[in-house]
Amino acid sequence: MIIEAQGLRRDYGSRRALDNVGFTLSPGHALAVFGPNGAGKTTLLRLLTLALRPRSGELRLFGLDARKDAARIRPRIGLLSHQTLLYDELTAVENLRFFGTIYGTRDLSTRIPQLLETVGLTLRAEDPVAGYSRGMLQRLSIARALIHRPDLLLLDEPFTGLDPAAAASMSRLLLDYVREGGSMVMVGHDLDKGKELCDQFLFLRRGRLDLQGQGDDAAYEELRRRLHAGSPA
């Protein structure tokens, strides 16, 4: 089991950002997390990155306790955000080498060219990242997220600001990742992308789990209905 979450609760001061959220994720599966702004999606993702700790509840990643074994969990998680998380003054190779070393990846001299090939950036690899287009930046971000061969990829609205070609390119890379055995949690607003890439979803509203389902048409219809219905009864 990649993720086992139960009764997760997180407060910001007196505001309840997450309330009694629980779910599981098996290896090789992808989970989409939807919800209006302020529903707690980003909070949930931050909890999964271990940058944040829950007030109460249980969280196990890869069978390990998130509180006690954070050091063993972190090397197995990759993060992809709408921010590039890259250093502008460094080249693609230098960025990948930096993060690869931080994550303790061993075979960097072969892995880096391999990854750059996969994301199609070999030609511009020695140029400072500052000169990259948005699409190129996002492709390098994926390479950065995958450099250490994570078992779990966490995505925070990764398709923001991408043109259709760049978005298609990224979808392809992510689908490859899942097909090769990776697991994924994607937070966002884009229902179509969620349906395309993920086989399960969660819908959060005001920190609580409003709807949960497999990624079939019927479930998504229900989800669309709830999203457009506005406030519940």
Partner: protein
């Protein structure tokens, strides 16, 4: 050991970025030159008698060192804010202590480079034979400059997480380093006048104590700054 490698990798990354943006370092040196010129206008240091110089020079030097510290450090953490790379570091296996120490090392190197140029420049402009006391002087500057950088790196971490307030770094740092500033000025003055070590060794001990205390506090609290 992985942690040591992280520290080195982070320091190296900071310094490499500095190297690529060397024009900013040149800007800092020009700023130092301006400060030295202003002090000349303010106190006529270059034309003063040796006794007056001995009185004023320590204060001038340490004001310059304090400014150089702020200049060197304000870029270090702010670089991490641009593309949210601070978050990337926070979720990585690199411990908070490793990030802090990496940035501290980079900051120390940068400050050393800046001071290695500006201190001789000051000696030249004010026609003061600093080289005569080079050994003890370097020791005093190293001891206190280290403390400046320790606190400065910690504060720049705090400031980097704020939405605005880049100016806060100087506002926080200057009052906080008062003990080191006073100690640095006293010790430098004593060295330049050739005073015996016993007269100012209590200051040195305080400076060393301060340094150790704040390295400890920084290592203990930096993790809280990185967390979300």
């Amino acid at each position: 050991m992985h942690e040591l490698r992280c520290i080195w990798t982070i320091a190296r990354k900071d310094l490499l970025t500095e190297w690529r943006t060397l024009d900013r370092t040149v800007g800092s040196l020009v700023f130092a030159l301006i400060v030295l010129v202003v002090f000349q206008f303010a106190f006529a240091l270059g034309d003063a008698s040796p006794t007056t110089q001995e009185q004023l020079l320590p204060g001038v030097l340490w004001t310059l060192i304090a400014f150089m510290t702020v200049v060197a450090l304000s870029r270090s953490m702010l670089m991490e804010r641009r593309r949210d790379t601070l978050l990337a570091l926070a979720v990585s296996p690199a411990a908070g202590t490793a990030v802090y120490l990496g940035k501290l090392v980079a900051g120390l190197v940068q400050l050393t480079v800046l001071l290695a140029v500006t201190m001789p420049l000051a000696a030249l402009l004010y026609d003061y034979p600093l080289a005569a006391h080079l050994g003890p002087l370097v020791g005093v500057i190293a001891l206190h400059g280290f403390g400046f950088t320790v606190l400065g790196t910690l504060f720049s971490g705090v400031v980097a997480r704020l939405d605005r307030g880049e100016a806060l770094l100087a506002t926080l740092l200057f009052p906080a380093i008062t003990p080191l500033l006073l100690s640095g000025i006293r010790c430098t003055g004593a060295v330049l006048s050739g005073d015996a070590l016993e007269t100012y060794q209590h200051w040195l001990l305080m400076g060393a104590g301060f340094d150790m205390l704040y390295v400890f506090v920084a290592l203990a609290t930096f993790e809280f700054i990185l967390q979300d």
